[in-house]
């Protein structure tokens, strides 16, 4: 059983510091999430309009998604495949028949006056995902259901071009396909909730069904949260948190609300069931006006769409097409490539990075070297150029040639980095550059010995310390020499020469 105290440390408070005195009452935190995942199908869920993000306002609309009188929805079958992928990847049961329903409410950016969603018979139900909080063990979080629905448009109030008493509508987002995933109230801390969202993001990207971008709104999350005395089985009064637009917001908003509820309960007060909007600028959650949340959605079956019928064969076909999922891939990296857990987790965190790594690792012996380079140079280069690893001009095949030369000692680290940079510029095979660097290598031990002696003479204090027993300084001297030679020498030869020189100097001193 966890206590509110430990969860209070996340986000708002420095780790390890108890937040306030009130949380000494042992409360258990109970969190359930409702997540909306925008699917990256080519067209909308009930019409043929494009779902491209960022297009000119109201340029991707038609009578159907604008809800014009007489227009009717027709289900885009591609959406079912996306839903099936997530359902199968989370171990949900896909029901043979699911039903669309109308969820009725008035809002200007909801042109039909109802959202087409699923209610009584959702697409899939009963799965799970694993999470871990801060340094905690992995736990399974049950998934209650996954269902399909259409997105609403956007009301624009706060832009410079909007008049004070105006609201503008952009209906491009109307009808963009959404999956809603609802968890059971199994999460026990803000850290777990944030981890759940991060893993879900990773998963939808692996499944290639969504960009999972929270800032762009393609992944959105509402949280239900309540506290109860530790050990209790009954649920406390919950509140609903909305408007958390990043993983960090999720964690901070939940921590805020735990603090608020905890203080209230510890003082003998009662939590009021309400919806709160997270305000990241103020680092606080504000209740919505009660009128805005007093919804009776009056769900009833959508008469314009037939029930969705799913056959076993189709489900099996979708299952066969599932990619290897992050957990399995990570385990395989540890097992087959002998990589440390840290490397395996980092490499498999993003499907694109993992794919890059595998193309590289398949071509060279030293998998750890491949891992170091992908986690280091490759990710750095991708970040610097703001593109995905797939788009890098240094392909995994070219990098394999380079790293093979490096591990055979034909070139050295610094030269390899130089060739990598060149490859990033010109996109050419590094073979020629390797030969050049190899040809530039200084093999003349007389020349190198002279360099060693010069370097020692230039750093008398370090030389004294080195001779006095601080042997690690050999690396310092090697670095200096390689720097001067722009890497055009084998560090192992330099090290050997340094040892010779040290022995000679010590002998001289007797």
């Amino acid at each position: 059983m966890k206590e509110a105290m430990s969860t209070g440390r996340t986000g708002l408070y420095p780790r390890g510091a108890a937040s306030t005195a009130e949380v000494s009452t042992p409360f258990e935190v109970v969190i359930g999430l409702e997540v909306h995942i925008q699917l990256q199908t080519r067209s909308k869920i009930f019409c043929g309009c494009s779902v491209q993000f960022g297009a000119e306002a109201n340029s991707q609309v038609c009578p159907v998604c604008m809800g014009l009188p007489g227009a009717l929805p027709v289900l885009n079958q591609k959406v079912l495949a996306s839903a099936a992928r997530l359902a199968l990847a989370t171990g949900c049961r896909i029901d043979p028949v699911s039903l669309f329903a109308r969820k009725n409410y008035f809002y200007p950016d909801l042109p039909k006056g109802y959202q087409i969603s699923q209610f009584d018979l959702p697409f899939a139900s009963g799965g799970s995902m694993t999470v871990s909080g801060e340094g905690e063990e992995e736990r399974a979080i049950r998934i209650r259901r996954i269902h399909l629905e259409d997105d609403a448009g956007r009301s624009i109030h706060a832009e410079a071009f909007v008049g004070a008493d105006e609201t503008l509508l952009d209906l491009n987002r109307c009808g963009v396909p959404l999956l809603e995933l609802v968890t059971e109230p199994d999460l026990r801390s803000p850290a777990e909730a944030a981890d759940f969202m991060q893993r879900l993001r990773q998963l939808v990207r692996y499944l290639d069904i969504s960009t999972g971008n929270m800032e762009e709104g393609s992944l959105r999350c509402d949280a239900n949260i309540s506290l109860r005395p530790a050990g209790s089985d009954t649920l406390g009064v919950k509140t609903e948190l909305k408007n958390m637009n990043s993983f960090r917001h999720v964690e901070r908003a939940l921590a805020f609300e735990i603090e608020r509820q905890g203080t209230l309960l510890a003082a003998g007060g009662r939590v009021e069931q309400q919806t709160l909007l997270w305000d990241p600028a103020r680092n606080a959650a504000e209740p919505m006006r009660s009128k805005e949340e007093a919804h009776d959605y009056r769900y009833f079956p959508e008469p314009d769409l037939m029930p969705v019928r799913i056959g076993e064969e189709w489900i099996e076909e979708q299952r066969r097409q599932l990619p290897e999922l992050p957990e399995a891939r990570k385990a395989r990296y540890e097992r087959d490539f002998g990589l440390p857990a840290y490397d395996a987790a980092l490499l498999t965190g993003d499907r694109g990075v993992a794919d890059y790594f595998e193309r590289l690792a398949g071509r060279i012996e030293d998998k750890k070297l491949a891992s170091n380079w992908v986690m280091g140079e490759v990710l750095r280069a991708a970040n610097a150029s703001g593109c995905s690893v797939q788009e890098l001009r240094m392909t995994p095949e070219h990098l394999a040639v380079l790293l093979e030369a490096l591990s055979r000692g034909r070139i050295h680290q610094q030269a390899a980095r130089r060739i990598f940079e060149e490859g990033m510029e010109n996109g050419l095979s590094p073979a020629a550059a390797i030969e050049r660097e190899e040809g530039d290598q200084i093999h003349d031990s007389g020349q190198l010995r002279a360099m060693v002696q010069e370097t020692l003479a230039a750093h008398p204090a370090e030389t004294e310390a080195w001779l006095g027993g601080k042997e690690k300084l050999a690396g310092f001297f090697t670095g200096k020499i390689l720097q001067a030679l722009q890497g055009r020498a084998d560090p192992r030869s330099i090290m050997a020469l340094l040892q010779d020189e040290r022995a000679a100097l010590l002998r001289k001193r007797g």
Partner: protein
């Protein structure tokens, strides 16, 4: 020539022999529309466009390339979206609204060279049985302008009866094609749900709505259905069932046909004696033609009206939510806040009957009432469907009156919604079961007002219904469509 005397079958032969042109026909129809203005049957008339199209069809006729509906001049119920003119649904809230697209049925009809004369008046959003609930004034019965033409497709029925058009499209949610057809003395077909695309039909109750033809003969209905029936990729509920050749199927006799008479309907409460007599005489004609009359039972029919008004209004409350003043249609100029935009625009834009239905529909779907009303009504719906399934085990089609009474006087039932709802007692179950029914004239009452008979068949039995109707028209004088122009 008086267009009140001719059906499309006669027009086709006149066109074939070259004794009349479409242009001439268009002129005649437009004149009649002018003369019949007091009926208030049309809300908009496309004079120039119709003349232009008629000239185009004449050229095609001369070249021998005319479509199968060349010479068909149509009135279109104003809840069917048309990009060439207004689509008001008889409502103030859609005054001046112009749809950017046309309904699938209109595209199909235009492709077959039918010409649209105008949009016909209707009860607001098809909610009503008298066409008194139009924001643009009531329609008058051609046979007696002091009376209603029925509804909600009253404009279409009156226009056909008065010869203001060759035929018309109506929509039928609980009897809105059949009941006005009966009051006006014309033929009206409510097809199987899913037989005709609803894309472009402004929805009242989606699970019950169906577009259908209204005309002066069963053969005309068959010609129109031939063109508008069939799967539409834009309507997910439209059926993939192949479309048969309706005209070919009409040439059959009635020998051995089993005609069911439901004991719950003979007699039924509130049924006028003249109506009962006329339908019974119609049954006698069927027997004389070699059909077998079979007593059947529809045991749950007494629950139909109550269940219908729950389901239809529940769906309507959602379907009409889009009329909120935000994007199109009427927005109250007095609205200062978002909430006022909704409440004022809708209060001012909708008529009393529509508001009544929206409130009723909202109520039955509300948390705490859903089970007691909507769920129960769905169960009744299933029972009604089973009643018909059971009945069709022992008969091929059912013969019933369309309506317990003939046309009533304008204002007679306006203050009594329940009395108005009861006039749909024979038609509503058909929509609840999703099956087809044909209404056609079968006599007159003592005041000379038309009486309608209804033939109901199982899903996709339109060929049989049209054949039986056709035979009735041929062999039974009272079954011919009336010709009135007061």
């Amino acid at each position: 020539m008086h267009t009140g005397c001719v059906d499309f079958q006669s027009i086709k032969s006149l066109l074939a022999t070259g004794s009349i042109s479409c242009t001439h026909l268009a002129e005649i129809y437009l004149q009649h529309i002018d003369k019949g203005a007091h009926l208030n049957a049309f809300l908009s008339v496309f004079t120039e466009k119709a003349l232009e199209q008629a000239a185009g069809v004449d050229r095609k006729v001369a070249q021998g390339t005319a479509g199968r509906l060349a010479g068909m001049f149509l009135g279109i119920k104003d809840n069917i979206a048309y990009s060439g003119g207004a689509t008001t649904c008889g409502s103030r809230i859609l005054a001046g609204y112009r749809s950017p697209f046309s309904a699938t049925v209109l595209k199909r009809l235009a492709d077959a060279d039918a010409i649209f004369l105008g949009k016909t008046n209707m009860d607001e959003f098809a909610m009503g049985s008298s066409t008194e609930h139009s924001a643009y004034g009531p329609v008058r019965l051609p046979a007696d302008p002091g009376r209603v033409p029925g509804g909600s497709s009253g404009g279409s029925a009156a226009a056909v009866a008065a010869g203001l058009c060759t035929a018309a499209l109506g929509s039928d949610t609980g009897g809105s094609i059949r009941q006005p057809a009966s009051f006006c003395g014309v033929v009206g077909l409510k097809p199987t749900w899913g037989r005709v695309s609803r894309y472009g039909l402004v929805a009242f109750a989606s699970s019950l709505d169906q577009i259908g033809p209204m005309s002066r003969s069963a053969a005309d209905c068959a010609d129109l259905l031939q063109v508008i029936a069939g799967h539409d990729p834009a309507d997910a509920t439209s059926s993939m069932e192949p479309v048969p050749d309706y005209r070919a199927a009409m040439e059959r006799d009635l020998k051995g046909l089993r005609v069911g008479l439901a004991r719950e309907y003979f007699p039924a409460e509130g049924m006028e004696e003249a109506v009962r007599t006329a339908v019974e005489e119609c049954a006698d004609f069927f027997r004389a033609e070699g059909a077998e009359l079979v007593p059947v039972s529809l045991p749950h029919s007494s629950y139909a009206i109550a269940a219908y008004y729950i389901i239809a209004d529940a769906e309507a409350s959602a379907n009409l939510a889009r009329f909120d003043g935000a994007r199109y249609g009427r927005r109250s100029p007095a609205a200062a806040t978002l909430e006022e935009m909704y409440t004022l625009s809708r209060s001012e834009g909708f008529g009393a009957e529509v508001k009544r239905r929206i409130m009723l529909g909202t109520f039955v779907l509300s948390s705490g009432y859903y089970e007691a009303y909507y769920s129960q009504a769905q169960k009744v719906r299933t029972l009604l469907q089973r009643d018909f399934d059971e009945a069709f085990r022992s008969c091929d089609l059912l013969l019933t009156p369309v309506c317990p009474t003939t046309a009533f006087r304008i204002g007679e039932k306006a203050g009594d919604p329940l009395a108005m709802y009861l006039s749909d007692v024979f038609t509503i179950s058909v929509n609840m079961a999703g099956i087809p029914a044909l209404a056609l004239p079968c006599g007159r009452d003592g005041a000379g007002l038309p009486i309608g008979a209804q033939l109901i068949g199982p899903a996709f039995s339109e060929p049989l219904l049209l054949a039986a109707g056709h035979r009735l028209e041929k062999g039974y004088a009272p079954a011919r469509a009336f010709q009135e122009l007061s």
